[in-house]
């Protein structure tokens, strides 16, 4: 039995995604029969499956740690497991390289068993050593590196190699995190016999040193980061895959993946080959779909008329499933009069969200029923009966007038004036090319104008400029994505995180005044919430990282209530995960909870390996 003293929890975060402290104490595996995976003989094999990816780079290596990698998750890159699109539990998985996993009741220990037949495409078995190396690499590559900060939640635990196919991960009981299981299961695994020499020989010692404090620790952290650069730049040459496919060849437009005969569930894999086509703009995807050339495509924004054209193509089918993403209109409360809650409430009442959605994104969203900060499909599960206490902000121009009057505004000649007599203006910032935001912004501006408020949309040239200028506090109002569950911390971090003044450095929460350190929302540090008194929403959000189930629900209720009362954003619509497939060559039929997997955009590889794609005979 080999014990490797590394911080498994840290490592697991490297290519990891969101998580919460759910108690997944029931081991699940492909053999349980309850995970929806197909059984042997259920798929017809053969044919070429065509799907899409974005930003294909023919010059990049097939290395999953390269930012432009040609290792495509689900196809020729594998994780231990794939996170289901569960509305509230981020620790619910479909199997990847792991066939079984078991979490202890206290969420401190995770035992993972690799699939007994798991084998790399060169015939080498997938072993625990591959997982240990991948965990080490995970520390070096950005998303895991943050845990090297002293005091970060979830630091320091062990990985114990029980045998060639079994490992036990243990997190530090003095510094636990709810993201423990999710972070490990979501780890991308690379072959030790290919990547083994990329990290320095003394890497594990460097890792240990990096978790300390002082100059030596700082140097060690730099060394870890440098090792990360080596990892990112590494070119393995030949693609060695433990997934259902291996990269055969690539040009700047397309990549060709061919069947990996060694894949442990090859009997469930229908297509002999997969072509992934590159796209740089959504309209390119629309063209492919209108030509019936794609067997499936993941979510891209599509205007209603184009949806109809795509639907009209024989064989094309559309699925509409849950997405945790919510569109909101966020206020910068450093700008007057948006610092006045009456003004924000007035706008919430004045905007007819049903009309806006029906005009701007009828196929891509459902109008929000209220503003809570939480996706409406899961708000009941998080806050229960308290939902009924939230103000729905239904379209009500009388209520909007009352709120504006409460803010000291007056109406003259049908136009609303500020207390100083100047016209009340609402500029709405959108991004060029974001068709749904632009259409929604235009509709809101029209509605407000009809109500007597000067409003117009202003367009940023692209998303990078939008992000920079928004963070710099240049926009009084702008579109802002919220929700982003299922992790409760992630949900409210969008409202009470860095953008509103609360930051985590070295595990410690701090607050920056509006206009400083990326605080562009400019909300107050503490707020009064009816029935709960004065709260600090940032502190409560931070607590969600480690809170138990009961406390989590309590905090979620308070924060939902606070969001509803103070409206740092107006919740506009919940996105619908609209995806397309074509049934002429293949039937693509994954369960709804596999239609979105955190951190994976091109999902067909996961669907294929689970046996949810079958060739048309």
């Amino acid at each position: 039995m080999k014990v490797t003293r590394i911080t498994a929890t840290l490592a697991a975060f490297a290519l990891a995604i969101t998580a919460c402290g759910g108690d997944d104490d029931e081991p699940t595996s492909p053999d349980d029969g309850d995970n929806g995976a197909a059984e042997e003989g259920e798929v017809n094999r053969g044919g070429v499956y065509t799907t899409i990816v974005t930003q294909l780079d023919a010059t990049a290596p097939p290395n999953p740690f390269n930012p432009d990698t040609n290792s495509f998750l689900g196809y020729n890159a594998m994780r231990l497991a794939w996170v289901k699109n569960h509305p509230t539990d981020p620790s619910d998985f479909y199997p990847g390289l792991a066939s079984e996993w078991e979490v202890s009741d206290d969420n401190l220990e995770l035992t993972v068993t690799l699939h007994p037949e798991a084998t790399w495409s060169d015939g080498t078995p997938v072993t625990s050593d591959d997982v240990v190396l991948s965990a080490n690499i995970a520390y070096t590559r950005g998303s895991g590196a943050f845990i090297l900060d002293p005091g970060a939640a979830g630091a320091a635990s062990d990985v114990e190699v029980i045998d060639d196919k079994t490992l036990r991960f243990t997190q530090d009981p003095d510094n636990p995190t709810g993201e423990f299981v999710n972070g490990i299961m979501d780890m991308t695994i690379v072959p030790e016999h290919v990547y083994g020499d990329v990290l320095p020989a003394d890497f594990e010692e460097t890792l240990e040193a990096a978790q300390g404090e002082g100059e030596d620790a700082e140097e060690a952290r730099d060394a870890v980061s440098e090792a990360g650069e080596e990892v990112a730049s590494f070119d393995p040459g030949e693609d060695i895959s433990a997934g259902p496919y291996v990269l055969e060849r690539i040009n700047p437009s397309e990549a060709l993946l061919t069947r990996n005969e060694h894949f442990h569930n090859d009997h469930l894999v229908a297509p002999d080959q997969v072509i992934v086509r590159n796209y740089d703009g959504n309209e390119q995807v629309w063209d492919y779909l209108q030509a019936g050339e794609l067997d499936s495509s993941h979510f891209v924004a599509v205007p209603e008329d184009v949806v109809q054209q795509i639907e009209a193509v024989p064989g094309n089918e559309i699925s509409r499933t849950y997405s945790p993403v919510v569109a909101g209109l966020a206020f910068n409360q450093s700008y007057e009069p948006f610092d006045d809650v009456h003004v924000r409430r007035a706008l919430a009442y004045a905007i007819d969200r049903e009309q806006m959605v029906s005009v701007s994104t009828p196929d891509g969203g459902d109008a929000a029923t209220t503003t809570s900060g939480i996706h409406q499909e899961v708000v009941d599960e998080w806050i229960g009966d308290a939902v009924g206490e939230l103000d729905p902000y239904e379209h009500d121009l009388d209520a909007a007038e009352e709120e504006l009057e409460a803010a000291g505004m007056t109406k003259e000649d049908g136009r609303w004036l500020l207390p100083d007599g100047e016209p009340f203006e609402v500029p709405i910032q959108v991004v060029s090319g974001f068709s749904d935001w632009i259409a929604a912004g235009e509709n809101i501006a029209t509605q407000l104008d009809e109500f007597g408020i000067e409003s117009e949309i202003l367009t940023s040239p692209d998303f990078t400029v939008y992000q920079e200028e928004m963070a710099a506090g240049d926009y009084p109002l702008g579109f802002w994505l919220i929700g982003l569950g299922p992790s409760p911390y992630n949900i409210f971090q969008r409202l009470y995180g860095q953008s509103n003044g609360w930051q985590v450095h070295a595990g410690q929460l701090s607050y920056s005044e509006p206009g400083e350190d990326g605080n562009w929302k400019g909300g107050p540090e503490t707020i009064e919430v009816e029935g709960h008194g004065e709260i600090n929403p940032g502190e409560l959000t931070h607590e969600l990282r480690t809170a138990d189930e009961e406390r989590t629900q309590e905090i979620m209720t308070i924060l939902a209530r606070a969001t509803n009362e103070t409206l740092p954003v107006i919740q506009l619509w919940d996105y619908i995960n609209t995806q397309f497939s074509n049934t002429d060559r293949f039937i693509t039929d994954p369960p709804d909870d596999a239609r979105r997997v955190s951190g994976v955009t091109s999902l067909a590889g996961i669907w294929i390996q689970q046996g949810w794609v079958t060739a048309v005979e």
Binding site: T18, P67, S143, G144, S253, T464
Partner: protein, 333 residues
């Protein structure tokens, strides 16, 4: 010969100065370009389901390649690297920018040159014909076609061709460069390359064609009025010989137009490649701007502008080679 060498040296010196101006301009543009790729990447990762800390750390990896020091120091570093032919690495793929550019350039240079040469040949022939038949309806129609196509932006031509031949009457591929199912450099592969290149090349050809017709027609009409043509006719020379005189003299200004067309078509490739999802320098440039991959962006801009400068130098030198008046004038200096 001595005159040609002198001209070549002069052109190269001018070209180098222009390259320096361009790279300085490119550096300034990139330095003042707004947009924070790290923050945009952070948002993208959050939307994919990464936790805020993971997304922040992952996105911050881009910072490691961000230039440091004062703007002047960055400029000196940049120029120094270029003098060592070091264009740096892509911020994303960590691949040498030279490799990235070389991979993309072949998809732009060949179609652009092919399209320009085709439009040049077509424009010259049709232009001569339009000049000779300038009093006929056919001549008028040819001239009008040139004027019309000269006025239509190349991306409109591209969209029209795509609508007609890839959507309404789908006989040509709308997107991509080659069918990846074919083994490289087999007969099927080469045919597929050509098949996918038809619409982009046709767009380049049609877009540049109008300019060539009008320039050639104008040039031929001017030459037709020259004394030496009148003298040749009076001496009873064969029509075909006179036509050769006309063509040889009239075509000279077209080489300048050709160089300018190559430049225009190169820059137009940015839009055309986007329309046809064709993976050349234009697509690379757009993609790198969107992601703020500044090393690739700088490299692509530099390559495109240097290509234009080289085209101009070649055109000027070629002009002097084929026009004895310029050659002799150079030798006398």
């Amino acid at each position: 010969m001595k005159g040609f060498a002198r001209r070549l040296a002069g052109q190269l010196a001018r070209g180098l100065v222009m390259v320096w101006v361009v790279l300085t301009f490119t550096f300034v543009i990139i330095s003042i370009m707004p947009g924070d790729p790290v923050r945009a990447e952070y948002e993208n990762l959050l939307q994919q389901g990464y936790s805020p800390e993971q997304a922040e750390a992952q996105a911050a990896m881009l910072h490691r390649f961000r230039p440091t020091g004062s703007v002047f120091e960055q400029y000196v570093d940049y120029v120094g690297s270029l003098l060592r032919f070091d264009l740096g690495q892509s911020l994303y793929s960590r691949v040498d920018v030279a490799t990235v550019l070389a991979d993309a350039a072949k998809w732009t240079v060949i179609p652009v040159l092919l399209g320009t040469v085709l439009s040049f040949g077509l424009g010259v022939v049709v232009g001569v014909y339009a000049a000779i038949k300038r009093s006929s309806k056919l001549g008028d129609m040819l001239t009008m076609s040139g004027s019309l196509l000269r006025g239509i932006p190349d991306f409109v031509v591209g969209l029209l061709l795509a609508s007609i031949f890839a959507t309404l009457w789908p006989i040509l591929p709308r997107q991509g460069a080659v069918n990846i199912l074919y083994e490289p450099w087999t007969v099927e592969y080469v045919l597929s390359l050509g098949y996918h290149a038809i619409l982009p090349v046709a767009t380049y050809t049609i877009s540049a064609y109008g300019g060539f017709i009008l320039a050639m027609k104008s040039s031929v009409v001017t030459v037709l009025g020259d004394d030496f043509i009148l003298a040749a006719e009076l001496r009873g020379m064969k029509r075909s010989i006179i036509f050769r005189y006309i063509a040889r003299n009239a075509i000279l200004p077209l080489f300048t137009v050709f160089a300018l067309s190559v430049a225009a078509v190169f820059s137009g490739a940015i839009f055309i490649e986007r329309i046809f999802n064709y993976p050349g320098l234009g697509m690379l440039l757009i993609d790198s701007i969107g992601r703020r991959d500044i090393t690739v962006m700088a490299g692509a801009l530099l390559l495109i502008t240097v290509a234009v400068i080289i085209a101009n130098i070649v055109a000027d030198l070629f002009y002097s080679v084929i026009d004895p008046r310029i050659r002799r004038a150079g030798d006398r200096v």
